[in-house]
């Protein structure tokens, strides 16, 4: 069962997500979106995923918010006084259908700590990482050991993807002479 803290965080995330959708002022929507990311980061912490929580807080709540605000300064703000934006019902219908399709798959997710979860389908591999990570790599964080040592080749690809994404954006916005 979920604890009171998790329920409160879930409620906070839900409310800030809805606020992001319906607020008329884009700046207010961006602030609500930042709050949503921060709530999600805290939720990751309660689910014992501090690495994901750190990324969510830095990228979701921090960097994305600033990039959105920066983009906003290049647009104009609505001038009327209404607080909420009118809802586009066909679009809302599509969104509800999509969310429903996603929610439909939720029961298939194994419970937290379920021994029959796919992560444990090959217990020997998992046990091997847990038992020999410190001995073989000398690092205490098994996540880092898997990321940078056992699956280091994948991580190299990931780092190059980040680099390539930066280059691609510069090409798209015609800033090839970046230096």
């Amino acid at each position: 069962m979920i604890t009171l803290l998790e329920a409160a965080l879930l409620g906070f995330v839900l409310v800030s997500a809805i606020a992001t959708i319906i607020l008329r002022d884009v700046l207010a929507a961006i602030v609500a979106f930042g709050a949503y990311s921060l709530g999600l980061a805290m939720l990751w912490l309660t689910l014992q995923a501090p690495d994901v929580a750190l990324t969510e807080a830095a990228i979701g709540a921090g960097v994305t918010t600033i990039l959105f605000i920066l983009t906003l300064t290049k647009t104009v703000r609505p001038t009327d006084d209404s607080v909420f934006t009118p809802i586009n019902w066909p679009a809302a219908g599509v969104a509800v259908l999509f969310a429903g399709a996603l929610l439909w798959t939720v029961p298939a997710i194994p419970a937290i700590g379920d021994p029959s979860a796919p992560a444990w389908s090959d217990p020997e591999v998992t046990q091997f990482y847990l038992e020999s990570a410190y001995e073989q790599t000398g690092v205490e964080n098994v996540v880092t050991a898997v990321l940078a040592a056992y699956r280091g080749f994948d991580t190299f690809g990931e780092a190059v993807v980040v680099f390539a994404a930066g280059v691609a954006v510069l090409v798209v916005i015609r800033e090839e002479r970046f230096t």
């Binding site: 501090p50 790599t137 880092t144 940078a148 991580t155 015609r174 800033e175």
Partner: protein
């Protein structure tokens, strides 16, 4: 309200430096930078790593730009430095990986380096490279978007 009026109203509300934001950022920024480096280096022993630490360092650059203006920040953190950091990060990761191949190991087999705790130092080096890539790409995108871009038909 017409387009012209909106434009006019925007021009009447210029971006002003806020002493609250400037003072806060002045105090907080060194701690954020140190924390970013800590997350990068200490990823081996606690949560975190290059991706997270790099994002935090980039957040500090964005924070400085937010408080003191984008151009002064850009004068301090030039595009040349951004490109050097990003390519340097990729090359550092690559060379740390290739090194063991020259020493009869396989790609990224840190223990082939032979010295004590080689895997640990290898992982730290790789994390630092990732941090450099992430921090510089995020700051670079920020500066590129801030500079703005115009697209005209037939532009070379």
């Amino acid at each position: 309200m017409s387009e012209q009026n909106i434009q006019q109203e925007r021009a009447e509300r210029p971006y002003t430096e806020s002493s609250v934001i400037m003072t806060t950022v002045r105090i907080v920024a060194p701690f954020v930078f140190t924390y970013g480096l800590f997350v990068m280096f200490h990823g081996a022993s606690s949560s975190g790593g290059g991706f997270q630490g790099g994002a935090i360092v980039a957040a500090m650059v964005l924070m400085l730009a937010f408080a003191f203006g984008i151009e002064p920040t850009q004068r301090w953190f030039k595009n040349t430095a951004i490109v050097l950091l990003a390519t340097g990060g990729v090359l550092a990761f690559l060379f740390i990986g290739i090194g063991p191949l020259l020493l009869d190991g396989t790609f990224l087999e840190y223990s082939a380096y032979g010295f004590k705790k080689a895997p640990k130092y290898g992982i730290e080096g790789v994390e630092l490279g990732i941090g450099a890539i992430v921090a510089s790409v995020i700051s670079g995108l920020f500066f590129a978007i801030a500079r703005g871009f115009e697209y005209t038909e037939g532009q070379q």
